[in-house]
Symmetry: C2
């Protein structure tokens, strides 16, 4: 697996050969073929062995802290040389075989499972809305991290991660004084207007 992963990191999906993996790991080609009859099966296993499914679930005592730790863990992995190589290989390989599609789907499922656990915890504690969709939340928080690694658009600092978390927690809609309804067509939906003014909100604290 280490040899396959190293080859994948250096040469990408297109350049990986079972011969090179055998050479690098010091075994006969036939030994590799016995275990992984096709290149796709080897790649799928190698990528899978690096997925982070055994990540501990954050337990910081606050929702924001849990999400920050979750995002930071993903950021740290993806920005490492290994993590970046894995992600790029996965993207390059995903259309190549059903085994790899299955790996990608397992990968998403595992991420969502951790997110689902966190969301359930914080719904139970009354901090998240009961109808919170864990899959959406995980995707909105993690996709920008993945995409910034794949298409560098700026640094991935702690501040940036905090910004994503803030947005996902609070949304971006202006709050509105209770009883006051914006009646012009600029209002997004009726429910958008039914929120307490930021000032009013400050008064209640």
């Amino acid at each position: 697996m280490d040899a396959a992963f190293a080859e994948l990191g250096e040469k990408g999906y297109g350049g990986l050969s079972i011969e090179a993996v055998a050479l690098r790991s010091g075994v006969a080609k036939t030994t590799v073929y016995r275990r992984w009859p096709t290149r796709d099966e080897l790649v799928a296993d190698a990528l899978d062995s690096r997925s982070d499914r055994y990540e501990p679930i954050p337990e910081t005592g606050s929702l924001r802290g849990d999400l920050a730790e979750f995002c930071e863990g993903v950021r740290a992995k993806l920005t490492s040389n290994h993590g970046k190589a894995m992600l790029k290989s996965l993207v390059a390989a995903v259309d190549q075989s059903p085994e790899i599609v299955e790996t990608v789907q397992r990968f998403w499922r595992e991420r969502r499972d951790v997110g689902g656990y966190l969301v359930e915890r914080w719904i139970r504690r009354g901090v998240l809305r009961p109808e919170t969709d864990a899959d959406l939340l995980v995707e909105v928080l993690l996709a920008p991290i993945y995409l910034r690694v794949l298409l560098p658009g700026g640094p991935l600092s702690g501040d940036v991660l905090e910004g994503f978390i803030d947005l996902a927690l609070h949304g971006v809609l202006e709050d509105v004084v209770p009883g006051v309804t914006i009646t012009d067509q600029s209002s997004a939906t009726a429910s958008d207007t039914a929120r307490v003014d930021r000032m009013g909100r400050a008064n209640t604290t």
Copy 2:
């Protein structure tokens, strides 16, 4: 450009050769070299010619409508064969040369400019908070679309896009009755608790 793009779509960054582009476009190799001395310059120009900078800015009369149209436009482009090939080529090519890094950065800037325009409009109309960070909002809405194209994790239906928009508009925090403060440590931050209860909110409409 069309020939370069077609080659890129079929063979990816690694497989693109100036010879093949010349052959496909029916001109002499030297003609291509005169205009694009290196392969990287050709790739950067080809990718750039496909970026969507001349997208009209949505004007539906509602914030939600504008965002839905914005996201739908990106989804439609990225899920087309051309769009998907462009995105994958860009991801494969991004580490290869400064020209391509510059292309990616211009690409992000253009996306953010459209988002910035929309955000400014809806801040002016009192629907978005004045401090809304347009870059973050654009990234949180679009990154999941990009990532689902790159690492298929599920369908990209209108419902899914609506889900991302809802989350970004409203956030996921439970609203709290004014004056009632959650005092146990499960509260995320003080400001998280200073929101109106969903029931109370319903009463004000």
